[in-house]
Amino acid sequence: MSAETRKYFNTAAGGFVLALTTFVAFIGLWEGAVRLFDVPKIILPPPTSIAVAFWSMLQGGELPWHTAVTLYEILLGFLLGALGGLLLGFGIALSPLSERIFYPYVVAFQTVPKVAIAPIIVIWFGYGVTSKVIITATIAFFPLLANAIMGLRAAPQDQVEMMETYTASRWQVFQLVRLPQALPYIFVGLDVAIVLSVIGAIVGEFVGSKAGLGYLILQKNFNFDMAGTFAVLIVLSLIGVGVHALISFVQRRIVFWIDVSGERVTGA
């Protein structure tokens, strides 16, 4: 590859062209291989049948409805869990008493794989959206709890002392130094939590549900409709990419002084 081409691929437009070309090539290869080796549709459907399935599910209103249910569970669960995690995190970081009361439970509960309690939550709160929101909230809770505690303790001692030198009160030190210093950590927590929220909602729906994309996957799978299953997976990954991009967008604006190099991946 010439130096000129390489330079072009490093620009935004060039990067897009590169990504698009790779994508089209990959899809083409997939389609060609499935047709050439005559792979049964039930094992691996070709991209064209996935597209057809996607389109008919979209037209029938099936996909929009289940997407809306799952999105609702993800966002509400995320908001509740993140808010709860933040509040308890602030409490623990700022009050030694609340740390002594809550922290042992936090540590104990943190080691429990949250998806393992999904069946219990479904039994307690039923097959509707409530149980999914609760499962999602439990999962989104911990990344924020942990990161809020870490973040509020991250303020460098010299910055705190500088503020105290100028007669800052405890509250002023919190407001003007500890809180801004905690924001980068909190955004890491939000990013991890929103990605986990997608998993939480789907796991909840797998355990027992009447609607949502997880429910739809099970249904399609049950009918050996692999193209339909793949179509749902596409929507799911779009949701995942979308919520992550949303958090990153807000993060870059609020925590502008931190150089966010390298995206993080959490394979949870």
Partner: protein, 272 residues
């Protein structure tokens, strides 16, 4: 802990001593239970309006002494009176320049300078023009709305100097403030500091690792020993005011410098 001292300028008529340090001891407790004896029996009086420099080898407790005087670090024993009252916490009348700039990266240059004004709830409009004047004085006009990350280390340090002066404190404590500056900027800053001190009649305590700088600026130079830090000698500098850069080359100036340097030839080396 926030315990504003009474205004430092309220002095009893005859007593010109702004700071009285007697039998000051500081021991740090390390995590593995050992005690580090940082300051041993430090006794020092500073007169109102006086310029005092402190020199001493690295780790002899100069920063410790300054932190204790700002009220953020507790002493192990000893008495400190400031303007006649016992030092019990940070005061609005103190301005501090730290060894590192310690700027807040999410605040612009001007917002960093305004930190004492905001914290002490002083009149923003009044002091903002003062902040801009100070920035212009240290050669940072036009950088008011930049972020610290866009500035060199020396420029950041000068922002820190403006922050220490913005609320017009009567007592200025400086911890190796010019260490990060190049020689040219350093000389300019020395001249500016002398001018500010003469015009505003502040009391200044300057820690420096440059013996010529200490002599050039100070009425008295305090020489400290290696840990545990004690005061070994107090040298009164009787050079005429205002001091000018050319004085560096006079025999008189050289005598002061070598008198101080003697201590470090016997007691170890001075930092940097």
């Amino acid at each position: 802990m926030y315990q504003p001292n009474a205004g430092l300028s309220r002095m009893s008529g005859a007593d010109r001593r702004l700071v009285r340090i007697s039998n000051l001891e500081k021991k740090y407790q390390t995590r593995d239970g050992k005690a580090i004896h940082a300051l041993a029996d430090v006794n020092l009086d500073i007169e109102e309006g006086e310029f005092v420099s402190i020199v001493g080898p690295s780790g002899c407790g100069k920063t410790t002494l300054l932190k204790i005087l700002t009220g953020v670090l507790s002493r192990s024993s000893g008495d400190i009176l400031i303007a006649g009252s016992r030092l019990s916490g940070p005061s609005r009348e103190i301005g501090v320049v730290f060894q590192a700039p310690v700027l807040l990266p999410w605040r612009t240059v001007i917002e960093n300078v305004m930190v004492p004004i905001q914290v002490q709830k002083r009149d923003r409009a009044e002091f903002e023009s003062r902040a801009r004047r100070l920035l212009a004085m240290v050669g940072l006009a036009g950088f008011e709305d930049k972020y610290p990350s866009e500035l060199s280390g020396g420029m950041q340090q000068r922002v820190g100097i403006c922050r220490a002066l913005v609320h017009d404190p009567s007592f200025l404590l400086m911890d190796e403030p010019f260490g990060a500056l190049d020689a040219m900027t350093r000389e300019t800053m020395n001249e500016e500091l002398q001018r500010i001190w003469q015009e505003s009649k502040k009391t200044v305590l300057l820690v420096t690792h440059s013996i010529p700088e200490a002599v050039y600026l100070a009425d008295r130079v305090i020489v400290m020993t290696p840990r545990p830090g004690r005061i070994v000698e107090v040298i009164k500098v009787d050079l005429p005011r205002p001091r000018v850069l050319a004085m560096h080359n006079t025999a008189e100036f050289g005598k002061y410098v070598s008198a101080i340097r003697r201590h470090f030839n016997s007691a170890g080396k001075l930092d940097a």
